[in-house]
């Protein structure tokens, strides 16, 4: 499977990083998200909010990368939260059960609240 790159905008906020991918998150592009999360794992308290506002489509590979990110960041003393308003993705989180135990909110700031609770 030929890997493709998608743009992932990495910005810093108050105590966490925001990853904003632009494009479909599927088996072809998921490597970019995986690499971006891996680059943050080295930090002291790696907290990440992934903003899915510009991801029109996400398949099980994309979901798997997010869930893998949750586990890896938690093992490193950090966490991953998700900012998402797209029904299709929210449905995927609900159906698979991954929405439980992960902070998912409409905005980045609200999602980051999950780190403090």
């Amino acid at each position: 499977m030929a890997q493709q790159k998608i743009d992932i905008d990495i910005t810093s906020a108050d105590g966490f990083r925001v990853l904003k991918p632009t494009g479909d998150l599927d088996v072809y592009t998921v490597g970019s998200l995986r690499d971006a999360i891996a680059s943050i794992l080295e930090e002291d308290t790696p907290h990440v909010v992934v903003d899915l506002d510009s991801v029109p489509f996400m398949d099980s590979s994309g979901l798997g990368a997010l869930m893998g990110g949750v586990r890896r960041l938690r093992e490193a003393g950090g966490d991953l939260a998700i900012a998402c308003t797209r029904e299709q993705h929210l449905k995927l989180f609900t159906i698979t059960g991954f929405g439980e135990g992960v902070s998912i909110a409409p905005t980045v700031e609200e999602a980051a609240e999950g780190f403090r609770s």
Binding site: D24, F57, D59, S60, G64, M67, Q88, G97
Partner: protein, 518 residues
């Protein structure tokens, strides 16, 4: 500096040719120089010496002839005197042509003048005295006046001769000097030409052949299948260029080899997966089962399993996350776990818990599997199911009011392979005779149109409602065709569907899949 091979060879040969040309030029100039010296010696100096000797000799002979005439009065001696006069004249004219430098011409003029004085003395005094019979007087005049003139001519002749000898000596030393210079130049040029030629014969071939040998070794290594053979060619010429391209080819070949191996592995994986797929479904008296599976790639993450234990039909449709070999391996693992638990008579809850543990232990943190596990009581039509992170099942009712198609509501458990406890909540639905229970993977729902829109739950439900009057086979075909049209023929995900049609009573005819026709 980037220097092409052509210029290296042309440069080397150019220098060699230049040195050979210089050698030729030096040799030629030596010969020219020797020729010029030879001309000066043989054309000027030696004829000059002969002329001087002849002039002096002719005046001495004139004196001797006159002296003889005075002694013997023989007229032939006078004739001899005249001949010698002509001789002297001839050699003086010849000498005038040869002696052009100031001192030599002056000496010659003085000899000629002295000779003329001597001849005037003989012609005007000595011979008339002898003719008149005054021979002793004539002797005395000749002895007193003539002999000193002849001595003077001899003295002048000696001077002129010495001058010619000096000229010859000078030419000899010039020849020696020029020869030495030329020999030195020839030695230097010969050594230079030998050095350049030697360099070209040793260094250039070594540089070229050395790099070519490395290329040959690398090509042989490729022939052996070694694509990591180090090719160390540093030259910046055409050979260096070939080496660079060769290294790129090594990388490409290695990649191709890896791809070929991957392809082989993929085919093995596909073969393993194909063997795991149920080609023949067990007989299910009271229900008919229509399976459909279409893989987007050689191997995929979709799977299903059908089993009958007594009067209970168990059907599972699973979907491993991701695609390709990783998904196929996880699907195989999940299927093996389900079959193993089923064989040992585990309850549905035990079965999914065990499968969850297996997947958690054996797979990556990013991998998970969703599935629907349904059990249908073939006598009552009561269906229980566990939804493990999967899309809800679908039902097509066929009661008297016409077909009604909808997703089945029910508790949602979590996907397998990630959570400690995925949950084991069950749901139940009562099937009526002719009702169809549809278990399927997300390939139908997540099919994407060229403008990025997904097929989705609503479109799926509407399509099924529209197609619900069709037979299960036709329904599956039409649904698949509709989804393919929606995706403009580009389906990235696997499609799997199991349609369970409960007959209400024991079905008389098995489906083709149950007869083993697939």
């Amino acid at each position: 500096m980037r220097l092409s091979l052509r210029w290296k060879i042309a440069g080397g040969f150019g220098i060699l040719l230049l040195l050979i040309a210089l050698l030729g030029w030096v040799t030629l100039s030596l010969f020219t120089s020797l020729r010029s010296v030879q001309r000066r010696v043989f054309d000027d100096a030696i004829p000059g010496l002969i002329a001087v000797d002849e002039i002096v000799r002719s005046y001495t002979a004139q004196s001797a002839a006159v002296r003889g005439y005075l002694i013997g009065s023989q007229p032939t001696l006078l004739g001899q005197y005249e001949d010698e006069k002509a001789n002297a004249q001839f050699w003086q004219e010849r000498g005038a042509e040869l002696f052009t430098s100031g001192q030599e011409a002056d000496l010659l003029r003085r000899i000629a003048a002295t000779g003329t004085q001597f001849q005037e003395l003989v012609d005007e005094s000595v011979i008339p005295l002898a003719t008149r019979g005054q021979r002793s007087q004539a002797f005395r005049v000749l002895g007193q006046d003539g002999t000193p003139l002849i001595s003077q001519i001899e003295t002048l002749g000696t001077l002129l001769r010495n001058s010619q000898d000096e000229a010859v000596m000078e030419q000899q030393s010039e020849v020696r000097a020029r020869s030495n210079t030329t020999i030195f130049a020839l030695i230097v040029l010969t050594i230079g030409a030998l050095a350049v030629g030697g360099a070209m014969a040793v260094v250039l071939p070594r540089a070229l052949v050395g790099d070519l040998s490395k290329l040959v070794d690398a090509a042989r290594a490729v022939e052996r299948g070694d694509f990591d053979y180090p090719l160390e060619v540093e030259s910046q010429d055409e050979i260096g260029e070939v080496a660079t391209r060769f290294r790129e080819m090594q990388v490409g070949l290695k990649r191709l080899q890896q791809l070929a191996l991957q392809d082989l592995e993929l085919q093995i994986a596909a073969s393993i997966q194909q063997n795991l797929v149920q080609r023949t479904l067990p007989a299910t008296p009271g229900a008919r089962i229509y399976p459909m599976q279409r893989q987007a790639n050689l191997v995929g993450g979709d799977w299903y399993n059908v089993d009958v234990e007594g009067r209970t039909l168990s059907v599972v449709v699973g979907d491993a996350s991701g695609k390709g070999i990783a998904a196929a391996m996880m699907a195989t693992l999940a299927l093996a776990a389900v079959r193993a638990e089923h064989t040992r008579g585990a309850s549905p809850a035990e079965l999914v818990q065990a499968a969850n543990r297996t997947l958690r232990e054996a797979t990556e943190v990013e991998s998970f599997t969703t599935l629907i596990y349904a059990m249908v009581d073939l006598d009552t039509g009561v269906a229980r199911w566990l939804n493990m992170g999967h899309h809800p099942p679908f039902v097509i009712r066929s009661d008297g009011s016409g077909p009604r198609a909808h997703f089945l509501e029910g508790p949602q458990n979590r996907a397998l392979g990630w959570f400690d406890d995925p949950g084991t909540s069950e749901a139940t639905v009562d099937l009526a005779a002719g009702d169809r229970l549809l278990l399927f993977t997300d390939g139908f729902l997540e099919a994407k149109s060229p403008d990025g829109e997904v097929f989705g739950h609503n479109r799926f439900a509407e399509t099924m409602q529209r197609l619900s009057a069709l037979s299960p086979d036709a329904l599956i075909d039409e649904l698949t065709a509709e989804v393919e049209r929606f995706a403009a023929g580009k389906l990235d995900d696997d499609l799997t569907m199991l349609v369970v049609e409960w007959a209400g009573t024991q079905a008389d005819e098995p489906t083709p899949a149950q007869r083993g026709d697939q």
